[in-house]
Symmetry: C2
Subunit: 612 residues, 2 copies
């Protein structure tokens, strides 16, 4: 957290914990302020002027070596999760959405956003919470017996409307109320989605370990094959999946080693770790274990929607649902129907409800990422465009739903990689400047689009390998989540807690209390998200964390404590300096007492008498 330059002695432990004036050290510790609202579309206009209007040309011509390098890096960074999400979408929507759809959506939205978006540092793609919400929508459509595509399309119509209203009335500024407390509950939710989808979700049949169950659908598809053995496939899947994750971490570890001839090579190995591991394990599967069937990425033979139909009604998926049938009756059409209600005419109206929840999710998922990327400390010159981009987000997702593609929002991890690779930093990692450009996103997403030409290659990718990538995505973000680090404190020896600003100044009991409250809210979100009947309201549960932080937490914690755990780094630094100052001056005061006023303040050590 804050820098730890000063060397402290043991005696100041008391003073550190003496919290009598901690709240007065700086003004407004732990309080959150909002800017004035820009109503009636003024926010959108200001956004456009501030971003596209002023900087578009300069952001479109800064082509240089860095642009090329970052383009390649971003292609690699984006393509792997896009395919993985495609595979998992295929599982949870029973192939309504597949890898073709995630690639196509990512490519067109990326290119378009690069050209007209307000904040071109932010990469748009699939995220865990949106995947989870789409799962809920799909399950709902099955329960209601309404075609998924139509249901989803109508939700997207409403979603677009909500986004436009939010942009028009500058509702996006409220996202700044989502502090670290909420952000990290959301971040841990994302980790839980990644890890559970990768390892094995107890609530569905997604994940590596699920292959070990005899009843897994991928095994049932192979029932007719006498050579097929579910356990053999299961064991190989486990090895491929965990092998992929381990190899990614191994490759990435070189970055901070001394191996290879220079830092450039080490950084490349780090950056290309995911791709290299996926390729390695795909080759292991293809070359060494060709005889064992493992589930692969579902990709059609040519560029067409993933959902091939068993018959002309196109309600069942070929070949899984009609084994033995020689050929598909065709595929679904690209444009989904807005009128295929299966006799339930109330769908367009009823969609308003789920759409509101979808809006909350898109609002939070986008907003938290924007907030993180456009943080003051990153020294970005081309301003923010929350209102404008939220409207764009609504529009993109509307078009996606119309074409049967998945919704996309700003994705934290690729955004951070994008930002860091375009930044110049000083030795301490402080951002000096960032080459703000639209070209890297444009070119890299063009490459993503071109990967559709390599369908035969994509087919070779074993699903367990992609699960391995998912597992990596979950685990890799854990060490940066303060909430997780505080959770680990429960299992540590108190005297050996890592040095952070909160372990330094707050009592252990208070830290644990804060963590316990956070666990409670996380559990609320997590349980709701995984409990099918009520899963749809999990975005609301996440939203609930904001008022909890604003009105509930201050009852239990003092302002300075909330600031240390939940405040901005800058404010924390300022407070810590003031605290140091106050500790020093209390020393001086005491020494002064002894020498000049000869008054025993009752707090001195035994030797003070001799000094008098």
């Amino acid at each position: 957290m804050a820098p730890r330059d000063t060397v402290y002695d043991h005696n100041d432990t008391q003073k550190r914990y003496d919290s009598s004036n901690n709240n007065d050290l700086i003004e407004g510790a732990g309080k959150i302020h909002l800017a004035e609202a820009q109503l009636w579309g003024k926010g959108i206009i200001a956004d456009v002027k501030r971003t596209v209007g002023t900087h578009w040309f300069s952001e479109m011509i800064n082509l240089n070596q860095k642009t090329v390098a970052v383009t390649l890096l971003m292609f690699i960074t984006v393509i792997a999760p896009t395919l993985t999400f495609g595979a998992v979408y295929g599982k949870v929507t029973e192939n309504r959405i597949g890898a073709i759809e995630t690639i196509l959506a990512t490519a067109w939205v990326g290119c378009t956003y690069a050209l007209v978006g307000g904040m071109p540092m932010c990469i748009i793609g699939s995220t865990g919470p949106v995947l989870a919400f789409s799962t809920v929508i799909y399950n709902m459509s099955t329960n209601l017996d309404v075609p998924y595509y139509t249901f989803n399309a109508w939700i997207s119509v409403w979603l677009l409307g909500y986004c436009l209203i939010a942009g028009f009335f500058d509702i996006t500024r409220y996202v700044r109320l989502a502090t670290r407390f909420t952000d990290e509950i959301f971040a841990l939710l994302i980790v839980s989605i990644f890890v559970m989808d990768a390892i094995g979700d107890p609530f569905s049949d997604v994940g590596i370990l699920r292959f070990l169950a005899p009843g897994h659908p991928s095994h049932e598809d192979n029932e007719d094959d006498p050579d097929y053995d579910y356990l053999k496939t299961g064991f190989l899947s486990v090895i491929l999946g965990l092998g992929t994750t381990s190899l990614i971490f191994f490759f990435r570890s070189f970055k901070f080693s001394s191996f290879f001839c220079n830092q450039g090579v080490r950084t490349s190995i780090h950056d290309f770790a995911v791709t290299a591991s996926v390729v390695t394990w795909t080759l292991v599967k293809e070359l060494l274990f060709e005889s064992v069937d493992t589930e692969g990425l579902k990709v059609p033979d040519q560029f067409e929607p993933t959902f091939a139909c068993c018959d002309s009604s196109c309600l069942t998926f070929f070949p899984d649902d009609c084994l033995g049938q020689a050929a598909a009756a065709g595929t679904r059409s690209w444009f989904v129907s807005f009128s295929d209600f299966n006799g339930k005419g109330w769908v367009p109206i009823a969609a308003a409800g789920p759409a509101l929840l979808a809006f909350v999710l898109v609002y939070l998922d986008n907003g938290i990422t924007w907030h993180l990327i456009y943080h003051k400390s990153h020294n970005l010159q081309h301003g923010e465009a929350y209102n404008y981009d939220l409207c764009l987000s609504g529009f993109f997702n509307f078009v996606n739903a119309m074409l049967g593609l998945p919704w996309l929002v700003a994705t934290t991890v690729p955004c951070i990689i994008h930002l860091n690779s375009l930044a110049e930093k000083d030795k301490d990692g402080k951002f000096l400047s960032v080459q703000e450009t639209r070209l890297t996103m444009l070119f890299s997403h063009m490459l993503v689009g071109l990967s559709i030409l390599a369908l035969d290659v994509l087919k070779l990718l074993p699903l367990p390998v992609l699960y391995g990538v998912f597992l990596f995505m979950g685990l890799s973000s854990l060490p940066n989540i303060q909430f997780w680090n505080r959770f680990l404190l429960f299992f540590m020896q108190p005297s050996q807690y890592p040095e952070t600003v909160y372990t330094r100044y707050m009592s252990k009991a208070r830290i644990h209390k804060y963590t316990l409250i956070q666990i409670f809210f996380f559990a609320l979100v997590f349980i709701v998200q995984n409990f099918k009947a009520i899963a749809i309201v999990f975005p609301l549960m996440t939203l609930l964390c904001i008022p909890a932080r604003l009105y509930f937490l201050p009852r239990f914690f003092e302002g300075w404590e909330l600031m240390l755990l939940d405040g901005e780094d800058e404010q924390i630094r300022e407070w810590e300096e003031a605290k140091q100052q106050s500790m020093l001056s209390s020393d001086e005061l005491r020494v002064g007492t002894k020498h000049d006023m000869k008054v025993d303040d009752g707090d001195d050590d035994a030797s003070s008498d001799e000094q008098v």
Copy 2:
């Protein structure tokens, strides 16, 4: 290596590499001295007087809490490798020696040695090189068509003779000529044996990955079982093996973490890591994958030799070699025959040759470990007994061979654990004192003997899990081998080499040259050991490293270089202090030159002119 307290500036790089007087800094750098010989048995008598004669009583009565704790620790430390070696012996000798034999040998030798041995800090057990040599003996006996037990027994007769002669003429003192150069070639050979036997030996069918081959004997045994699938078993074996290794490393990593309530708990988890991991993965196999057959530890139903016979001639192994036969014809008798030559009466004489090589191996394997444990810096008070213990070693192995048990020698890793757990150290890890006792070895090996009562439990242990333990034993010692660390330098960026005394003072090219020479000698030993036709002479190849170090290396390297790479820590420290002193005084000399004599010595920086 040496302490790095001083902070150096960049400018002294030149001075560090200025090697003009490096050889003169201390006397006799890089030279090795031998004590005077104690011929005609005087050495043995002195050993007995110095050790058993003086300290036996005090070493038998120091029973305290530490003795009990270390007893338990040593039991755990010894039992796991004993079982693992038993499993691998079973593989390479086709069940002539198995887990029962390794347990029995370890138990009786350990207890006896604890009572009468000269250096009770040294644990005796199975080692990789002895395993490799026994493999050679077994293959030789098969090729010569001589019964293994008889052949081995006659070799042991000669081995006993050589050991007695060596003790009588104080030949053990020459083992001090085996410096780090030879020790680490030997250590890396041990690592290679562990890793290859665990992962998969290309030259035999031992190892985890070999289960993936359809022709592996364990699969052939199950050919009649319609549910059996070699790949299924293979995959589960890989998961069990690598899982065991990973979990051991995971448990051990807690020692240096902040988790759990205090250091005592963390150290216990570290110390019991092997057992905990073996138990965990055995349970995973038994509870979750009961239906999958994996190869288990071969243990008879009751306490009898492992080798059960198909018929009364007892040349083939039941049940593997006579599938379908209902019951064994019996087991081999405990006492092996000295006269079953299969018509080849020259065996007793011819055994003298292999026995000489066996002697070299026992001599080196024992000697290098004794040397390491009884190092000056460990501050042991109860002296050494090389001659006496070598005679004992010969006697023990003679009895073992007579009973068809494996040979045992001093085993490095358990010895180090034993020493460390009995030691009191200061903060920097320096040895203050060691509680020298015979009780820990006595009691722990009694427990090892008692484990024979739990045959049914031992049977549950899957062989792949034991391979996982083997892999751990190999990998865990790698980071401490300087040879290995120097080998890694080849792949590192030179400016980022880790700080060691040799990277600090020697040029990079010279370090690499030394490593290349060492690789050459290692390759020689390694190739010979793995090339069946000549494998028998691999102890000689190891022995060859000693003259190479004494007469060959000094032609390429200066004394001070050999000392930095191959010398005693104390001598290195002394040399480095002298070097620092000489660098300082050359500074003073130069400053003196500038101020007093006004002579430009041509080596100053530009600013020197102004000072004059």
